[in-house]
Amino acid sequence: MKVTIVDYKSGNISSVINSFKEVAKDKVNIEVTSDLKKITSSDKVVLPGQGSFKSCVDALNKINGLTDTLNEFAIINKRPLLGICVGLQMFADIGYEETETKGLGWISGIVSKIDNQNGKFKLPHIGWNQIDIIKESKIFKDIENNSHMYFVHSYEFIPEDKKVISATIDYSSNIVCSVEKENIFGTQFHPEKSDRIGLKIIDNFINL
């Protein structure tokens, strides 16, 4: 099996690579690339994302044919894909960080700034928060409800269809922190930085 982490030259993905290699050991081949052919021939794809929504979308678009290839992989061929942090946010139609930016449009919805209630809540939302699992998700196999996950973000994904939401967290309001729509998975938190429990989520995705 081959799992590809998409390296589209945006942000720091070394922690994602390290964690997937730790979980995969020698059993699964972890590839880190933006090569379109290699992505197409993968069994699973991971779309990380750091920085702003706009900078990530711009970086994806800079690589010729990459969004088409990802679209073909996840939407047409319905192969498993995991988006992490801004990788998840980019599933949306539109993001409002920096300026209005078109997303991949895989899950209808928008990405907007978390309401900090006039400074009552610090942003970015940084640290460990407990997830409330509201729908069974394949990546939550053997994950207890209220497990702690590590977050770093100021924007939240608000999907139109609430049925895609698999978990939320309580920070200012109920914020979407995990989605599952058929073969598409996304986490707002960083499983690669969420200790052993985060590695278990990565393991669940690899073993889908």
């Binding site: 390290n18 400074g119 942003l123 939302h125 928060n129 590590y150 309580d170 930085k193």
Partner: protein
């Protein structure tokens, strides 16, 4: 609910762990990779490396330490000390650091924080403020506490938030190494002034100091070195104690 974080800090010099007392009299005490692993297994919410003499010496050892640590620890890793440029930040992130803390360079050249937060995102840019009380105000010190910039720490904190810092790591120079507790006044004033999280640092001697840093100092996270490093308290003891005082922690 978001939990308050406990962050053990390891001071690193030439690839070895030390803990300075008022930034001098360093004692050598171990391998940073092994130490970090012990902390992460023990429940550290984050790990911080501070390369204390990096401004003056060959820095390549820290890159190697970060690379090795990030393959063994799967909690956030913050690295600071001697970070001068966007390129330094890039190198540390590529080695596996999740956040980089910037101290002297943020004072000397505001573009470093502005440019790096744009390039890598605010989430990985921590501005470290070493502050010392002078009369009614606090002044920002640079170069590992050696130089007084004369800049007002509260105004500076606000400016750094505007420049794109994702967090502030505030160290009281007066308290660092004294084990007399955080400078609560400084922490709460800065925390009230900015909308980004503040990490309190400098002066922890017992577990009540951690409680005070969060409850009175309004810090989102508390950083400590020697109380954990010399085994006075374990991370579990610290977390259980905070929990018993009604502070939300990850247990």
């Amino acid at each position: 609910m978001l939990k308050n974080r406990i962050i053990p800090c390891l001071d690193v010099k030439n690839g070895r762990v030390v803990k300075g007392i008022n930034f001098v009299d360093l004692k050598d005490a171990g391998d940073p990779v092994e130490q970090a692993k012990i902390y992460s297994d023990g429940g550290a919410d984050e790990i911080c490396f501070l390369d204390i003499t990096a401004s003056n010496e060959n820095r390549d050892t820290i890159y190697d330490v970060v690379k090795k640590t990030s393959k063994k620890c799967f909690v956030p890793l913050t690295v600071g000390g001697g970070v001068r440029s966007v390129e330094d930040i890039n190198k540390l992130l590529n080695c596996g650091a999740d956040k980089v803390s910037i101290n002297t360079a943020a004072v000397e050249n505001s573009k470093v924080v502005i440019d790096s937060s744009k390039k890598f995102g605010s989430q990985c840019i921590v501005v470290a403020i070493d502050a010392k009380k002078n009369g009614e105000k606090w002044e920002v010190f640079t170069h590992g506490g050696r130089n007084n910039s004369g800049i007002d720490a509260l105004q500076y904190a606000e400016q750094m938030e505007k420049n794109g810092a994702g967090e502030l790591l505030v160290t009281s120079m007066d308290r660092d190494g004294t084990q007399a507790g955080y400078d609560i006044d400084l922490m709460s004033k800065i925390s009230s002034k900015v909308n980004i999280p503040v990490i309190a640092s400098g002066g922890v001697g017992n577990l009540d100091h951690l409680v005070d840093g969060i409850k009175l100092g309004k810090a989102s996270a508390v950083l400590a070195a020697s109380i954990f490093h010399y085994g006075k308290y374990s991370l579990k003891e610290a977390k259980d104690y905070l929990d018993s005082k009604g502070i939300p922690v990850r247990i």
